[in-house]
Symmetry: C2
Subunit: 642 residues, 2 copies
């Protein structure tokens, strides 16, 4: 399948458009300030200062993480996507200035990584395992491709082409090259994006090389460690031989997602991209196996992935602790990208379903409604006092933070959200696939003709979707994703019910004429969800979901001690849209019981043969993404039943 | 109250006697082998080798932990207690040989700590915070007192008196002394034991000094760190200013148990000992406040304390996670000691209740039924696959280990168990208090006369206790602890019902004559226990307890996926003694339901509006202490209800 890019799509006011505007209005300017160290009381980023220092424009040592360059790269990419749907000369000017700094910072031979340039340049490319050079290069490359695509300006792209030439000259299967691959995957998928512009096989081949070499029996990370006299990776104390880096075995042999979650999913995204471009069946199979492992065995209902803070990593199948979870915002964002790559590899609605899960839950939970406070970790249960006093969950912050010393998540969210216009549709031949539902116009040339349509919906508040065909052609087929959560729906064309053929999670509509009006109504009741009983942490519990959105209880609506609340799965649920609350949400309420503290002295820890006293009350659920926007308090997704 | 020591008590076959024999027959010889590095496939201890090296008998560097000496000390103490009730010339000879090595190892000025003697002796007493010198001294001192008490031999005691003189000359309030106190408390309680033999006020005063100085605004640990140019404590990254060491404020100001659990409870034991000997009311008040905080707000139902692996530490009130718990065996042992010290400070059955809780649950769970495998951590929930694959609970071993590099728990268990004959009774004036119930004879001189009695019971399998008075005197009063779990009981003297006065958790019997037969029957039904609803982790769950013993489900009896099991709190419970099973246990069974895996594909993680399918079966509970004696498998204490 092909992407249908933002150039063919116009976004109108909607849930998604509001996210985009929040990012454009708040996050992109805010992050620009952050990258320039101008946010009061927040850790400085030093990101741009590092590039200026490498360009000899200021005199300063390297500061920040070894991968600090990537924060700027992600911001550049986000801003570039934004330029496709919003004129913003000031941001464009800022980018051009940054590109000019980069040009000055770039070394004669193409190298560009401020960490090594400002520390010991002789050590470059000697520690791929830990020091993120190729990761940073990958992010810069994505940004350069995006900026070229948005503006047609070549400067940034040229810088990166030169750097890629150096990387290509350094790594590969040839005898005189290093047989390395990145400790943090990312450049693989970026190289395929580059190939999409250049069509230069060396770019695709380099991506393929990094993937094929990974985890081979040479054990490159151990080899390079020996060469530099370095110590074993810190991760060795916890993870078996390089599995933290997905490098303990070849990617085609891997059976379970493992190690650092963002790395794992970026790798998979790169694999899916290479598999599509090279028609590599064994690689495609590996991608599907891993997709199934993650989404069907290791993914939280919110779309969070990475169950443990130790290494921000996957653990094992059906292990989904709600209180100690990691669930990095970046990992869910990575899943959103991976789903898109899988969708292009294989036309299945399931991939769009996961895009929905990520988009409406575990990614945007990473930012507040104002777009200036961020979560790195997205728990399914939060008791602020625990987060503050129990060291085992100190990674779970009870309130969103201004900025992070390691600030990977905020700019990653920005680039995901500004790229959303390119995620709505995909196409193949004369078929158009609508994957996300939002208010927009499309104008697109397909193989045999042009199609123009507009979509109106208040999705995800309801499942009523109206599509008007402005222009069609013979042989055009419109495929509408039928989300997995749908139990019943109606499809009418010009008021007449249409029985549509279903294929792989889409309903297909053919024979559409100019002026046709399609009403696609996905009934959106409140769903009571249970987890597979193999998940010990969710045994006997339920979660509330409506459409693609997972809900949670917050203390501010329901009082403290949320663990004591139970509801009946057979409850009457009320779902009411409240445009004032939390920026506009559909609130869900139902009768509930709460175990009372009555009869329990504060100095009485256990009692025998004492029946609990229950209080009746009305539980109020809000969408998970919107939690923690009204001060600090408890939150819980999985709820007890009675 | 006074201790009634093992010299007045003869132990007969019973649950407790079996523990004592297991320790004497297995653990003490096994640990002797371990201390001598002769256990195949286990981490060597190096403990005795270190002493030999310090004595210049072998040439070897220091090995093991900085506090390795204490492992030997605890073994010496355990063996000494054993000598009070068992002739064992070989062990006595081993001890004498070790004492001779110690004599040779001791420095001219009395110093004795193999770590500093074998590394850099000039650095001694420069890092009390981290390096455990005073802790090791305390354990050696306890051992020396115990060996002197058991054998009358003075050599070991004299070594330690000389060392204590050096410590006393080094630390104190005088201008020219260091104003330090131990980073790991222990010596305080040991010094009061020493004072019990020497009656030398300087020994009591030194204990009191360490307690009074602790946490004063000088912040000694910071002072000494500055002096040696040392780094802040590792614990600073997690804990506020020295609170890990209970040194952030004076002990009389502390409101909640905090920091490293064993340190906290050893400190409290020392405080209770000093409070008793000095009649210090403010210190007594502090002890009671902390006792209440721990036992009524921070203690697991099994007696485990220390909720987090980060620093093996307390967290905060009502935070009792069952899966990530630390619950070090040593911390429950410390609680057993603390309870005894509190009991001597204040005559309340509550302290005996906690001795029971510790004795029958969270301490002896630390060893297997053979006495040669040990748990350091005692979880209330174990899923072996999680322990093996989820790094956040890698501290929770799914099977007991042979020995530990840091082997504090096994010898600590040994010394607790061999000291049990001294824990049964206490006395005051003409009153005798029976705190633990077991088969034994007592022969004791009280203020106005001699009392002799014998007790027969199969406690804790039942609550039937028969006491025969062999010799009594006018004014003798027998006080029998009435455990807090008792809901009904009978008390008969020579077959006639006796209404007894109750005072502070004891039933009191006066006017007893020679030949009187007392039958004290504590009815012991199965108790369904709930936690205070403030404990979020136990909300809606129940635990099964019978008498002092907490029960658990094991996979071997109930199948896997224990989280899916629920029982009704109103179930009919059957309790049957099975002398073959697990060395003789009372097994509890009841009807139960289990959520079935039926209908759930292995690749299906979530489903909406699907009711669980329940299977009926009979749940079988075994005493918590006996878990993991039949291979690796799941275990769970807190169970769901229906």
């Amino acid at each position: 399948m092909q992407k249908v890019t933002a150039k063919n799509v116009t976004m109108h006011p909607s849930f998604i458009r509001a996210l985009m505007d929040r990012v454009a209005d708040k996050m992109i300017p805010y992050q620009w300030e952050a990258l320039n160290d101008r946010i009061p009381d927040a850790d400085p980023s030093y990101c741009i200062r590092n590039f200026k220092a490498a360009a000899h424009l200021v005199d300063a040592p390297h500061a920040g993480c070894v991968f600090q360059d990537s924060d700027l790269a992600k911001w550049l990419e986000a801003a570039s996507y934004m330029l496709l749907w919003r004129d913003d000369p000031e941001t464009e000017k800022n980018i051009d200035e940054v590109v000019e700094i980069m040009r000055k910072a770039q070394m004669e031979d193409g190298y560009l990584d401020t960490y090594y340039q400002l520390t010991d340049i002789d050590q470059r490319f000697t520690n791929l395992r830990d020091n993120h050079e190729l990761y940073c290069a990958g992010h810069l490359l994505e940004a350069a491709v995006a900026y070229f695509d948005a503006t047609g300006k070549r400067e940034f792209l040229d810088i990166m082409l030169k750097y890629v030439d150096l990387i290509d000259a350094t790594f590969g299967s040839a005898e005189d090259k290093k047989h390395g691959y990145p400790g943090h995957e990312e450049i693989e998928l970026a190289l395929v994006k580059l190939y999409g512009i250049t069509h230069d096989p060396k770019h695709l081949n380099l991506a393929k090389y990094f993937i094929d070499e990974r985890g081979s029996q040479r054990h490159y990370f151990d080899e390079e460690a020996k060469l530099r006299g370095g110590s074993p990776a810190w991760a060795h104390s916890v993870y078996e031989r390089n599995s933290y880096y997905q490098a303990s075995e070849p990617v085609r042999s891997q059976m379970h997602a493992l190690g650092h979650a963002v790395r794992q999913v970026y790798l998979l995204t790169g694999m899916a991209e290479v598999a599509r471009e090279t028609n590599d069946e064994s690689l495609k199979l590996a991608c599907k196996r891993m997709w199934n492992n993650i989404t069907r065995k290791q993914m939280y209902i919110t779309g969070a992935v990475g169950q443990t803070a130790f290494g921000e990593a996957f653990t094992y199948d059906f292990d989904l602790p709600n209180d100690t979870v990691y669930g990095e915002t970046c990992a869910s964002i990575a899943m959103f990208f991976f789903a898109q790559s899988m969708l292009r590899l294989e036309t299945k609605g399931e991939y769009g379903d996961i895009m929905d899960t990520m988009l409406y839950n575990g990614t945007i939970s990473g930012m507040n409604l104002e777009g200036n406070r961020f979560f790195y970790v997205n728990p399914l249960e939060c008791i602020p006092e625990r987060s503050e006093k129990s060291q085992i969950i100190r990674h779970i912050k009870p309130v969103r933070q201004k900025w992070f010393g390691c600030a990977c998540c905020p700019p990653n969210l920005a680039r995901m959200i500004t790229s959303l216009p390119s995620c709505i549709f995909t196409s193949e031949g004369n078929s158009l696939y609508m994957n996300l539902y939002t208010c927009c116009d499309l104008d697109l040339k397909l193989d045999n003709g042009r199609v123009a349509l507009s979509c109106e919906t208040d999705y995800p508040q309801s499942g009523l979707i109206r599509i008007k065909i402005a222009h069609s052609f013979d042989g055009f087929a419109l495929n509408l994703r039928l989300p997995a959560w749908v139990r019943s729906y109606e499809l009418r064309v010009n008021g007449e019910q249409r029985i549509s053929t279903m294929d792989n999670g889409y309903v297909a509509l053919g024979a559409l004429k100019d002026g046709d009006e399609i009403v696609y109504e996905l009934h959106m009741p409140v769903d009571v969800v249970r987890a597979n009983p193999r998940v010990s942490q969710d045994a006997g519990l339920i979660a509330i979901r409506r459409g693609p959105m997972v809900y949670c209880l917050e203390e501010i609506d329901n009082g403290a001690n949320l663990a004591n609340i139970s509801i009946s799965p057979k409850s009457e649920f009320t779902a009411v849209y409240d445009k004032e609350k939390l920026g506009g949400i559909t609130e869900i309420s139902c009768p509930a019981k709460r175990i009372s503290l009555e009869g329990w002295d504060e100095y009485e820890l256990y009692a025998s043969n004492r029946e609990p006293i229950y209080e009746d009350f009305t539980a109020r659920f809000v969408p998970y993404y919107s939690w923690n926007n009204r001060g600090k308090g408890e939150m819980r997704v999985w709820i007890k039943t009675h």
